[in-house]
């Protein structure tokens, strides 16, 4: 295959012409020839997160019932595809008119990150935005402007199998020590006390999220502000206490074997069938857990006690994934009208009920899943902390948290090193 000197002069010239043509086509594409992004006619394009399907679908169907001419094109993605596919569309300027957005900050698809890039429409002129409680403003607003609609809060606690509890003769614990005793009794009866599906990344954070409100925020409610200002770190805070408690549960054998190899689905099935008694989870998964159990009433939920001081046991309560109007949408008006509709009390209640969360606000009695009743006093008593990632300044801290928990469970790192990694990630520029 040595080079050959004989060439056809014609072909070289024509080849260069061809290259020129390709470059020209490229330049044209850059100038935005052809159909511009977004859709000006046709149905409203909506892409939602898998976890909000029940509520969003209901809202859209109801809106269509009331507005016959309304057309929409709805599709859903699980969380990781949202990150990639939706972000690619946003990058190319081709975002759907309405799409899922995570509240607060802390992830690549979060309200703060996207609004900073001017990709979300301002919803502040809508009536429902006035009803956002002070404690949750951070989840909905950036620079005082509301960019996201969410039907309400989900809480994080221990979903438990009532039959398993009855079998072991244990009651719901209200302090950390009681929790340990309960676990011990369950273990002796051959029931796995806590099912942990740590192979699925987002599950790893949940136990820490359940403990940190008690070990950190109960004593320092402004911890996030201090961290943002640089005067507090993960390493020097109650986070260490939470992580140590996490590992203590493991050391005492209160988790299922091989948590790092157990998936979220496998853990769900364990609790549903009674092989395991509890799992620390967000209330949004109640549907899935109930489906895994012979009877949906087998399951209940209680706040996980982080300390032995009842007053310090706060709970995590996070605004659920919401919906935003794309700033570049050509049907922004229609999209906003739909959001306005969703903000009405009846609609908020309907959506919240469908996804088992506590409605953002309610006129009169809040329609809440009975299983969530134990959590309401914490919410109204200001003892609820938004999920921690919603206040983190960049999208790298949360995945680092996932990874270090897996490393801790696998015995590959120490609590100090883990927290330092999280601090390092926190300091990175967004």
């Amino acid at each position: 295959m040595a080079s050959e000197i004989i060439r056809t002069p014609v072909s070289r010239r024509r080849l260069l012409q061809l290259m020129g043509g390709v470059a020209a086509a490229g330049a044209l594409a850059n100038c935005g020839g052809g159909n511009s992004s977004g859709n000006s006619g046709g149905p409203l394009k909506v892409i939602g997160a898998g976890s909000q399907e029940a509520g969003l679908r209901k809202a859209l169907d109801e809106y269509k019932k009331q507005n016959g001419s309304f057309e929409f094109n709805l599709s859903f993605s699980p969380a990781d595809q949202l990150q990639t596919a939706l972000r690619a569309q946003l990058a190319a300027g081709n975002a759907p008119d309405l799409h899922a957005v995570y509240p607060g900050n802390g992830s690549a698809m979060s309200m703060v990150q996207l609004s900073k890039a001017n990709l979300l429409a301002d919803l502040s002129d809508q009536a429902w935005t006035q009803k956002i409680p002070a404690g949750f403003k951070g989840a909905y607003q950036q620079d005082g402007k509301t960019h996201i609609f969410s039907p309400g809060t989900s809480v994080l606690g221990a979903i438990y199998n009532k039959l398993a509890f009855a079998k072991a003769g244990v009651e719901i614990p209200t302090t950390w020590s009681e929790l340990l005793t309960v676990c011990d009794t369950l273990k002796k009866k051959g029931i796995v006390p806590l099912a942990l599906g740590a192979q699925t990344p987002w599950v790893t954070q949940l136990i820490n999220y359940a403990l940190v409100p008690g070990t950190v925020y109960a004593k320092q409610p402004d911890f996030d502000d201090k961290m943002a200002a640089g005067s507090a770190t993960f390493a020097g805070s109650g986070w260490a206490d939470a992580m140590n408690k996490y590992l203590e549960l493991q050391k005492r054998g209160f988790f299922n074997d091989n948590p790092n190899g157990t998936t979220y689905e496998q853990a769900t099935s364990m609790v549903g069938t009674g092989k395991a008694a509890m799992a620390v989870q967000v209330s949004a998964v109640l549907q899935a857990y109930r489906a895994a159990a012979p009877s949906p009433d087998d399951l209940g939920m209680f706040p996980l006690p982080a300390t032995d001081v009842a007053a310090d046991n706060w709970i995590p309560g996070g605004i659920v994934v919401g919906l935003s109007v794309s700033a570049k949408s050509k049907k922004a008006d229609e999209a906003r009208k739909f959001i306005e509709f969703c903000g009405q009390p009846a609609q908020i209640n309907a959506w919240a009920e469908a996804v088992a969360c506590v409605p953002l606000y309610s006129e009169g009695e809040a329609k809440v899943d009975p299983v969530l009743k134990p959590f309401l006093p914490y919410l109204s008593g200001d003892k609820a902390v938004p999920f921690m990632d919603q206040r983190w300044p960049n999208a790298e801290v949360q995945p680092t948290h996932f990874a270090v928990v897996q490393e801790l469970l696998g015995g590959k790192t120490t609590v100090d090193k883990a927290l330092k990694k999280m601090d390092d990630a926190y300091k990175k520029t967004a």
């Binding site: 052809g34 898998g50 993605s77 699980p78 690619a88 569309q89 190319a92 300027g93 895994a292």
Partner: protein
């Protein structure tokens, strides 16, 4: 290949069959899973379904609208493969026959495409397809697959054509045929073995591709089978049976095509290597 079937061969046969059984275990797990109802899945994960239930298949077909997805996948795959074969073989014929530094550089240029990571061009390409108004269309996907799979196709064809003796085309050309006629009537028929290989390898890749159809076709109603099937795998669902049934349905068409064409595949590989 040694002749004769001796006791030693029987032993080898048994060993190979055992290897095949072990090899197929995951497939066995998947298929039996698809035929079980949720109760059996939880309690008896490994045994044969008893009684077998096609409930998951029905649900999978319905919830994923697999009928239309199959049509979409077939349309895109068949068209893309045809375009790839035509463009790829024509280009390879040129590259294999035309000597010179330029044509060699062109060949290398094509080969570069095989190792380029897809993330590099992903966003600009998405923007380009969008600007051309081809997002959410069949044409857009066909354009994409043609471009992406051409390097590999050209690579396979070029190697094969190089091994063909030149006398055939020379004869045709002397007889007054144009290059195109010589190609269509003389060369291309000789390419049948490698075309079989090109066909199946490209078809498999395009049929199974997940991410790009998700990105380009999501929400357009023209989604392909993988996109619709993996929509089951939601964050919170635990319905393994449904997922398994969907996966089996998604894999069947391509497996059938492979069964039909497998003789050509292997022949294609062997002819390509002899050259």
């Amino acid at each position: 290949m040694r002749t004769g079937y001796r006791p030693r061969t029987l032993v080898l046969e048994l060993v190979m069959i055992a290897a095949a059984v072990a090899f197929l275990f995951p497939v066995y797990a998947l298929v039996t899973l698809a035929f079980k109802d949720p109760g059996q899945i939880a309690n008896r994960p490994l045994s044969l379904p008893d009684p077998p239930s096609t409930e998951s298949f029905g649900s999978a077909w319905q919830s994923a609208s697999l009928g239309s997805a199959l049509l979409n996948s077939t349309l895109i795959t068949v068209t893309s493969v045809i375009v790839l074969i035509v463009l790829g073989s024509l280009a390879a014929y040129f590259l294999a026959r035309q000597a010179g530094r330029l044509s060699y550089s062109l060949y290398i240029l094509f080969l570069v495409g095989i190792i380029l990571p897809f993330q590099l061009g992903m966003i600009p390409l998405y923007q380009l397809v969008n600007d051309l108004g081809l997002l959410g269309t069949y044409q857009g996907m066909i354009l994409f697959y043609t471009g992406i799979q051409l390097p590999f196709t050209v690579f396979l064809y070029t190697g094969f054509i190089r091994s063909l003796p030149a006398d055939y085309t020379n004869a045709a050309l002397i007889d007054g045929a144009s290059h195109l006629q010589a190609f269509v009537h003389v060369i291309f028929p000789l390419l049948r073995p490698i075309t079989g290989t090109v066909l199946i390898l490209n078809a498999v890749h395009i049929w199974n591709d997940f991410f790009t159809p998700l990105l380009y076709l999501g929400g357009s109603g023209r989604e392909t089978v993988p996109v619709r099937v993996f929509a089951f795998v939601n964050e919170y669902t635990s319905d393994y049976g449904l997922v398994a049934a969907g996966l089996v349905l998604a894999a069947l068409p391509i497996l059938l095509v492979f069964l039909v064409l497998q003789r050509y595949v292997i022949r294609g590989f062997s002819s390509g290597l002899k050259g």
